[in-house]
């Protein structure tokens, strides 16, 4: 493909930095819920089936939260996609058209997955175990498949040099059939694996956040006694569907004493000690998860940075196995060596963020850092890691397509007044959302 003449374009409606900022910010916000359904969902299913009391507790809580997480993830994905189409349309549209049916397939996968998550949540609420595991498993498989297609689309978008071959292979009289794919390109899987690694880190953070903030708050404080009632039907915390089921069993004379006691105590059975036990378990489990997360994400990123993008494999190894042909890197006049795609300073910072993440969790496990302070620290590490990953990803994307489309050089045709209105609405919306969430949290506390 001939490179795009940027002066033939209409110009960016906002400065380059503004578009990059919102694209990166949007991606970070989208990443958190996306990580939770990508890695959190399978972990929750496994814990639901083979986990102990605390593992099941986390599993049930996460599965019940999942429909809201999904809704947020989809809506937060709009912003990065909008700014991709604002500045990167010359690479976004051709790549998605070449793989149109796969691209639309994402929606066909996500829609049933979304409904399955609601079903899973309802089944968990009803106290079931195998059925929610089954429906959750279905949702997870669909979402993993959707994630792989996303990874494929983003990889194709960043490799315009591969489009022509793909188009030749999958076109009729020059028109794309939309059946193209780059599944032979190992970068797709590398990209997906790195996201999965980061997703494990996000699940680690969410586990600690849930156990230290949401869980304790929901219990309403330590030592709260169960109100005096002798019939589980009067227990306001027992889900209605469970009540119905138990009543049916009781009427049939099949209700065991254990089940009745459990139903009576439901929602009141955990005093401070059990809350503490859940937090301790969460910390222990987090220190295992974090190792997987750090090893997988940093390992795959290291391989991608140093072996695929800037290493000898960029030409002879990984890319050779794929349909792509890596473009010849321009020579740096100062060193006489090929120019690096990844700026030198980026990987160490990303790796440092991940390492710090792991260190914090491990220190927490040994009791060196405790309580909510630990969660705040882990949250900061998560933010640093995700932010630097998002920035790195953006820089690399810009570099990869630079020879085809130099985003930085596109002239700006500023749309000042709509931009200002957007920022005002954004602030107003943030304030209103804060008020609504505050009202909900206050209610939960009360």
């Amino acid at each position: 493909m001939p490179s795009v003449d940027i002066y033939s374009l209409n110009g960016l409606p906002a400065p380059y930095w503004f578009i990059q900022l919102f694209k990166v910010l949007g991606f970070i916000l989208h990443s958190i819920p996306m990580h939770l359904w990508l890695a959190g969902l399978p972990i929750a299913i496994i814990l639901l089936l083979i986990g102990g009391v605390n593992g099941q507790m986390f599993a049930r809580r996460l599965l019940k939260q999942m429909p809201v997480i999904m809704a947020l993830g989809i809506n937060l994905g709009i912003v990065p996609l909008l700014f991709v189409q604002t500045a990167y349309y010359k690479v976004f549209y051709p790549s998605t058209i070449l793989m149109a049916w796969h691209w639309l397939g994402i929606l066909a996968l996500v829609l049933p997955a979304y409904y399955l998550l609601y079903l899973t949540s309802a089944l968990v609420d009803a106290g079931r175990k195998w059925l929610p595991a089954l429906s959750g498993c279905g949702a997870s498989l669909l979402l993993v498949a959707a994630g792989l297609i996303f990874a494929s689309a983003w990889t194709l978008m960043a490799s315009p040099e591969s489009w022509t071959e793909l188009w030749r292979a999958k076109s009729i009289a020059g028109a794309a059939t939309g059946l193209g794919s780059n599944w032979a390109d190992p970068v797709v899987y590398l990209r997906f694996v790195s996201i999965c690694g980061l997703a494990l880190l996000t699940v680690t953070f969410w586990l600690l956040f849930d156990s230290h903030f949401l869980f304790v708050e929901k219990r309403g404080g330590a030592g709260k006694a169960r109100p005096d009632f002798s019939d589980f039907m009067e227990n306001p915390r027992l889900p209605k569907s469970r009540k119905k089921e138990l009543r049916r069993l009781r009427d049939a004379g099949k209700l065991s004493e254990e089940e009745e006691l459990e139903a009576l105590e439901y929602g009141y059975d955990e005093e401070t000690e059990e809350g503490d036990a859940y937090q301790h378990w969460a910390l222990r489990f987090a220190s295992v998860l974090v190792w997987f997360g750090v090893c997988i994400s940093l390992g795959s990123l290291w391989f991608y940075y140093y072996k695929v993008l800037d290493g000898p494999e960029s030409v002879t190894g990984v890319h050779e196995a794929s349909m792509t042909t890596a473009p010849a890197a321009p020579i740096d006049p100062t060193t006489g060596e090929p120019e690096r795609i990844v700026p030198v300073w980026i990987p160490p910072i990303t790796f440092a963020g991940g390492a710090l993440f792991a260190l914090t969790v491990i220190l927490g496990n040994f009791g060196k850092i405790q309580g909510k302070f630990l969660v705040v620290l882990v949250g900061l590490c998560e933010a640093v890691t995700l932010t630097f990953f998002a920035i790195t990803r953006q820089i690399i994307q810009n570099e990869q397509i630079k020879n085809y489309l130099d985003i930085r050089a596109i002239p700006v045709q500023m749309q000042l007044s709509p931009l200002l209105v957007f920022l005002l609405v954004f602030l107003f919306g943030a304030a209103l959302i804060y008020w609504m969430i505050y009202a909900m949290v206050k209610t939960v506390k009360r």
């Binding site: 809704a71 998605t96 009289a173 028109a175 939960v444």
Partner: protein, 522 residues
């Protein structure tokens, strides 16, 4: 011309947009009207202390969330993605003009989401006033998102502004406040209210609500229904008044639009009649079956109105900015001069690939396209009858071409013709000529026409025409039918396309007799 064309056999890719759009609109309009109903009825129940009525609306809120938050959101993304695939140039333009409109709409989406979840999941837990406020926040955010998207879609039908033209100013607000903005906002608000009441009829009659509750709910829906109808009528009148002239004429001229207008009018009238006979006169008799009938009529009305909305825009996707075949209005002339195949990145690539077979073929590159177009336009391109004179000029392109003997892309004289003394001439065999014709068809015509079979297939419409007639028709594409884009190719390409169309054109049906003999004419 810089994007690949997405080929969807028989259906054509824009019809994929239509299918997704109709499905989405059925839910997204409910998301707006239903939000208003939920907020209103929740407040009413709180005010009157009717806990049973409020309980019903909680169950309706669950249904509402399951449908709108999930299905509505995914199909909304579906429309966005599909327009990017089937109409990338138009989408690029819309995003460039309205990016901050969409960004503002996103803020309201998030507001809708948080408010909807707060409203439902904290139904009996939030203080009553806070809960009611969340309902109204949802309703307002949903309606504002409707207003915002209407500003964008109405611009596609009429790009003239209320306070000045976008074309002259280039400003966002001029585009947003276009002449169709207010009528379409009223129309869509009206449809949202009416449709939402139909969903309520279906929901309440499906469940096992007591008769009194059912009757009360149905009666309460009357006022929003009537308000919806009034807004729709005002909106339709405004829509007609502010239609561009081409669209107005299209309403009268295109038979298929007339059919859909008829469906729209008949189904709307039937909806009104059913509402009058059911919810208005005998609410106790409204059954799930009658509610379902209303819903199917609503599908017919909305489906036909969406089709009309798309159909009357022709030849544009965006009024006076982008043609249906993904050509910028401002560039159609220069594309025609440079050659349609040469001007597109991907059609140009197709020509490049032909070089393997015809090494002497020369093609344009971005750097010399200007030189190429100058060269092409300065060289006369005589068009003779089929098999006649040499066709000039799709190719001759690199800067040095001015000084070189002319090398044509194709040589229309039939096989075996020799041109002594002009050995630079290149022969493209008949098969490749047809292939090139098909390339032109898919990129120039497939936006609105399938080829042999399917949606508005082109070939059956050409039965009985000669190649010369088709060539002449193509070269004056927008004269007999202004709703077609102008011909964006050169004379050679018209012949290539005509030959391809001739090759797929069905023969005159055998039962058609009574050939007119010219001798019989007076």
């Amino acid at each position: 011309m810089s994007y690949p064309w997405w080929y969807v056999p028989s259906l054509t890719s824009p019809m994929v947009i239509a299918i997704v759009a109709i499905v989405h609109v059925l839910v997204s309009q409910y998301a707006v009207g239903g939000g208003f109903l939920l907020a209103r009825e929740n407040r009413f129940a709180l005010k009157t202390g009717d806990s049973e009525y409020r309980k019903y609306w909680k169950s309706h809120a669950k249904f509402f969330i399951l449908l709108t938050v999930v299905f509505g959101a995914i199909t909304g993304v579906g429309i966005w993605w599909t327009i990017g695939l089937a109409s990338p140039l138009a989408t690029e333009e819309l995003i460039r003009i309205f990016v901050f409109g969409w960004a503002i709409e996103w803020v309201f989406f998030i507001l809708e989401l948080v408010a909807a979840f707060g409203f439902y999941y904290f139904w009996d837990r939030l203080p009553k006033n806070t809960h009611a406020a969340m309902g109204w926040i949802y309703a307002a955010a949903a309606w504002i998102s409707l207003v915002l998207i209407t500003g964008i879609t109405s611009f596609m039908l009429n790009s003239r502004g209320l306070f000045g033209d976008w074309e002259a100013t280039g400003g966002f607000w001029y585009a947003f406040f276009n002449r169709q903005f207010i009528p379409q906002t009223l129309l869509r608000t009206g449809i949202s209210l009416l449709l939402a009441t139909i969903y309520v009829y279906m929901h309440i009659t499906w469940g096992s609500a007591r008769d009194t509750l059912r009757e009360k709910t149905i009666r309460r829906m009357l006022a929003p229904s009537i308000a919806g109808v009034v807004l729709m009528v005002v909106g339709v009148v405004g829509w007609l008044v502010f239609l561009p002239k081409s669209a107005l004429m299209m309403l009268e001229r295109a038979a298929v639009i007339n059919v859909f207008l008829g469906i729209f009018a008949a189904s709307s009238a039937a909806i009104l009649l059913l509402i009058f006979l059911g919810p208005m006169r005998a609410p106790q008799k409204v059954s799930f079956t009658s509610a379902l009938a209303l819903f199917f009529l609503a599908i017919a009305a909305i489906g036909s109105s969406e089709f009309i909305r798309e159909g009357i825009r022709k030849p544009y996707v965006i009024d006076q900015i982008v043609y249906g075949n993904q050509v910028m209005v401002a560039q159609s002339g220069s594309i025609s001069r440079s050659g349609f195949l040469n001007s597109g990145v991907w059609t140009g690539q197709y020509l490049k690939d032909l070089q393997d077979k015809y090494p002497r073929l020369r093609i344009y590159t971005p750097a010399n396209i200007l030189a190429g177009s100058r060269s092409a336009s300065s060289t006369p391109a005589p068009l003779g009858p089929a098999g006649g004179n040499r066709m000039n000029a799709v190719s001759v392109a690199d800067p040095s071409a001015h000084a070189m003997p002319s090398v044509a892309l194709l040589d229309l004289p039939e096989e075996g013709s020799q041109r002594p003394g002009n050995e630079d001439w290149l022969r493209i065999n008949a098969e490749d000529q047809l292939a090139l014709g098909r390339v032109i068809f898919l990129h120039h015509c497939n936006d609105c026409h399938a080829a042999e079979h399917g949606y508005s297939a082109a070939a059956p419409q050409l039965t009985g025409k000669t190649e010369e007639e088709i060539v002449s028709f193509l070269k004056h594409l927008n004269r007999p039918g202004y709703f077609m884009p102008p011909w964006c190719g050169n004379d050679t390409e018209a012949v290539l396309l005509a030959r391809y169309l001739m090759s797929i054109r069905p023969e005159m049906p055998s039962n058609i007799t009574g050939k007119i003999d010219e001798a019989d004419l007076p």
